[in-house]
């Protein structure tokens, strides 16, 4: 590979859009060429700069209201046991049913009965959507795991594991209490670029051991796993690949 080709391919390379063989050629060229290496460095520096979440614009509250009032016939549906804000979200039952079916297939029978799966799947999705729209994403906004964890310890009857993976692109941004499966649970919130990941954690009830299970539906990816006596549900609109990477970090780094 020559320098000109390298310059053409450097962007697809940092964007993970390059195929394997071209990637190998490019990496080899970068190792050998002192003139092209700074280009890669500057691209990385630029990307790091653009990763700053403060660059994102906050949606004005007034806009949320306007969309709500102008869309024809937005339905109102109150949910029990949760924040009463955000009446304008309703998660179709069909979605929950689809989750339930998937869960029933993937989980060993008896460990995770259908009714519970049904309820949980619906609750995880709607909790996530609600947290994004209700302006109630965080009770404790903090990027410091040593702030977030003690906060949970003081509020819950259990002590959820809280880790930060900012260096790996999943920044801890805080936590909040949520209500799932008839109990209080920890919702640890992460940010990937501009995308929010909700990680719901609560103590495992029955003896279970299961590998991570993933589901995708309507733009959300959901992953579920157990570890060290806790049940974990991660949900986000990041790619399935990214969510898997996130789960791997969570599972291995403890």
């Amino acid at each position: 590979m020559n320098c000109e080709e390298c310059r053409d391919l450097i962007d697809p390379y940092i964007d993970n859009e390059l195929d394997v063989s071209a990637t190998i050629l490019l990496k080899r060229h970068l190792l050998e060429c002192p003139e092209c290496r700074p280009l890669l460095e500057s691209r990385k520096a630029l990307q790091a700069l653009l990763k700053n979440p403060q660059l994102q614009f906050e949606v004005p509250d007034s806009l949320r209201g306007k969309i709500r009032s102008r869309l024809p016939g937005i339905t109102v549906r109150a949910r029990h046991g949760v924040q009463s804000v955000i009446p304008w979200i309703s998660v179709p039952l069909a979605l929950a049913a689809a989750f339930a079916v998937m869960l029933a297939f993937l989980k060993p029978v008896g460990v995770f009965d259908r009714a519970r799966a049904n309820t949980l799947a619906e609750e995880v999705v709607s909790s996530h959507v609600r947290s994004l729209l209700a302006a109630h994403l965080l009770d404790v906004p903090s990027t410091d795991q040593h702030t977030v964890k003690p906060w949970f310890d003081g509020k819950l009857k259990f002590s959820p594991p809280v880790q930060d993976f900012a260096e790996r692109g999943f920044r801890l941004i805080g936590g909040r209490l949520d209500y799932l499966d008839g109990r209080e649970v920890a919702a640890v919130v992460y940010q990937r670029n501009k995308h929010i990941i909700n990680l719901f954690i609560w103590p495992l009830e029955a003896e279970q051991s299961a590998a991570a299970k993933s589901f995708a539906k309507d733009g959300f990816n959901v992953l579920h796993w157990d570890r060290d006596g806790f049940e974990f549900w991660a949900i986000s609109d990041v790619s399935a690949q990214d969510l898997k990477a996130f789960a791997d970090l969570e599972m291995h780094q403890f």
């Binding site: 053409d8 697809p12 500057s42 653009l50 700053n52 660059l55 102008r70 733009g219």
Partner: protein, 178 residues
């Protein structure tokens, strides 16, 4: 699917995309007021055309395309009316592609405001590609779909957007030092 179900599905799929839609509109229109108008209009359009969106399709790309086209339509209309307009741009506006590329490492002192201004200075096509990639996290294929251009164009727009952005940021630095 009856009306009620369609509406519920629309809410479920589209309302969580509000932040994405607003950010794209905000970067394209360069001001809050216009961005809000564009987002509202986009939601109404999306609601009207929701029947054309296929189950299992890429909802985000579909909706962002609507937002993008809504913004461009508005910008074009203003251009015709001769109002003062922020649409500059054929792809060779004033900023030259720097050559050789500026390779100085951008430091962390670059302010948020500085970066935003620099992005706003980019030609619209480049800005759009950059925003869809860096802030909306779309793949090249998705950007090609949203912008309605071939993959090769996406690649070159992104490369040139980044070159120019690095150049503008370095210029800002020089100004500060002087």
């Amino acid at each position: 699917m009856n009306d009620e179900q369609t509406r519920a599905r629309f809410e479920h799929l589209l309302l969580p995309l509000l932040t994405d839609a607003y950010n794209l509109a905000r970067w394209l229109m360069k001001n809050q007021e216009d961005a809000e108008d564009m987002v509202q209009e986009s939601y109404l359009k999306a609601f009207r055309f929701f029947g054309g969106f296929h189950e299992g399709g890429n909802c985000r790309a579909w909706f962002l395309r609507i937002v993008r086209n809504t913004c461009y339509t508005a910008l074009e209309a203003r251009k015709l009316k001769g109002k003062e307009v922020p649409i500059e741009e054929d792809e060779n506006n004033g900023i030259e592609d720097p050559s050789p590329l500026p390779t100085a490492i951008l430091d962390q002192n670059t302010t948020i405001e500085g970066v935003r201004k620099a992005i706003e200075q980019l030609p619209a096509d480049f800005r759009e590609a950059l925003v869809l990639r860096e802030f909306e996290g779309l793949s090249y294929k998705e950007i090609a779909d949203v912008s309605g251009v071939p993959l090769g164009t996406v690649m070159s727009r992104l490369a040139r957007a980044r070159n120019q952005l690095q150049f503008i940021l370095l210029e800002q630095k020089k100004q500060e030092i002087l």
